[in-house]
Amino acid sequence: MTFRYALCVMRLNELTIKEAQELMAKGEITSVELTKACLERIDEVNEKLNACLTVCKSEALREAEMADERRASGEVGELLGIPYIAKDNILTKGIRTTAASKILENYIAPYDATIIVRLKEAGAVLLAKANLDEFAHGASTENSAFGVTHNPYDLDRVAGGSSGGPAAAVAADMCIFALGTDTGGSIRCPASFCGITGLKPTYGRSSRFGLVAMTSSTDVPGPMTKTVVDAAIVQKFISGKDKYDSTTVDEKIDDYGSEIKKDIKGLKIGIPEEYFTEGLDKEVAELINRAIEKLTGLGVEFVKVSLPHTKYGVPVYYIITPSEVSSNLARHDGIRYGYSVHDGAKDLAEVYLKSRGQGFGPEAKRRIMLGTYALSAGYFDAYYLQAQKVRTKIKEEMDKELEKVDCLLTPTAPHVAFKIGEKAADPLQMYLEDIFVTGASLAGLPAISVPCGFANGMPAGFQLIGKRFDEKTLFRIGHNYQQATEWHKQKPNI
């Protein structure tokens, strides 16, 4: 049968959500077959990539069998039987969640994050927990306590961060899709570096309940996928108000599936000039320009806009984030869970000092120190309060420009993935990686990274930043672009 032949040529783990769902609906393949194909791929390449920290093989096969039974009894669903990988700062009941930190190395959560519950209900199959920078602090996954994740396009290069594991896993077809978290670019940066699609939803769109908290005022989980269509499918399931997260907003969830089918003639996109100046690699700039030409050809009108406070995004972010990190990580105290130096400690203070001193890695310690300093007596006004006020200016400026256009288009990252070790010695160099991604995070706006070509064999993406809760327009533009291009179909040769 020709169809069966086609399936043999294309391995099942390479399928998108949409393709896999169609084949399962037709009865051509089962979730168990799909899940096995992904698990085999993980076995095959994880040693090279170090994308997965924990593989839950038996649980995954059991969930796949259950999904097949649900389908046999007549159930249908876009994620029913679809295998995925979750970043390891998302709590999964009974399966280890480490946040890539030694302090949580053996932590097993007694409950699932809300987004995991939603995917379970939809019948998705959890394959593995993926690597990240410790506590999601970083832009390269080099800060993981369990080793760096390698970029599938060049093993000597980083996969980006902090969701480097999920990004590499999606790019290398170890799963059909992944869940990441984005605090200041952690979904978008690795999506750009690994040539996949990644959405940071509007702050408050998807529940943070059950994420290992980093920066509570900007943390948000989102999909990392092979196509924009797939991102829209996953986002639909993880959107919505959650009674366990009082910052989720009861906002209408658009019918993304029908919205993305609309063409993009007459849409207006703003190009903020501040994102196209110093620091942007020439070849990446060229790729972005070609994407703009392509979208122009599809009927989009581009206009120049100005966001003069863009350059303050990184300094604001590196006050707000460490400040919130220092209080969020205070819970890791060696008392209730996690790494503990208990025996031999003479008093409670010593348990704290030693457990935290030995349990946290260098970047977590740096951020705790920076935040503690910024919040301490005498410095609060100069640092934290000033940063919060500049944050207001960044937010108001972005909101104002977005009133004139449907969304903004920028590069996701200033360059392609860098060499492992290249920036690891200087924390400030690593912080500057976030230059194009902090704005949307500080303003709480949705932003998607879409692959738009290769420079020296390494992928790069453009970023669309939308109005609050207007994910549908980002999906619509991204999908139209992917209908007209092949960049998202490229595969690394591992």
Binding site: I108, P110, T247, I319, R356, G357, K389, A443
Partner: protein
């Protein structure tokens, strides 16, 4: 600099912050963090040039105000309770045990 914000952090300041943060640091770490954090703070100092007269600070972006819920006790089954407690290094009679605080 007279306001102390631009200066390189001293060893005493690093030790003080580490104590506030309940982090035991090695001599090497104190040295390294001293220069690294000074570099980052130097960079962050550019925020001072932004005129924020009359600007309100932003702590959250959703515009939500007072998300209340009923303050009711929810049932938590033994399995979850035990799973949560089982993560603690020292337990006595279903309670987490801590070291003495007072002499």
């Amino acid at each position: 600099m007279t306001n102390g914000i631009n200066m390189k952090l001293t060893k005493q300041e690093i030790e003080h912050v580490a104590k506030l943060a309940r982090l035991e640091l090695s001599e090497e770490e104190i040295e390294k963090f001293g220069s690294q954090l000074s570099g980052v703070l130097d960079y962050i100092d550019q925020l001072k040039e932004v005129d924020v007269t009359g600007i309100e600070p932003t702590a959250q972006v959703t515009g939500l105000v007072n998300a209340w819920r009923e303050d009711v006790v929810e049932y938590c089954d033994t399995e979850i309770r035990e799973a949560a407690l089982s993560q603690a290094p020292e337990i006595e009679e279903h309670q987490v045990k801590v070291k003495r605080i007072l002499e």
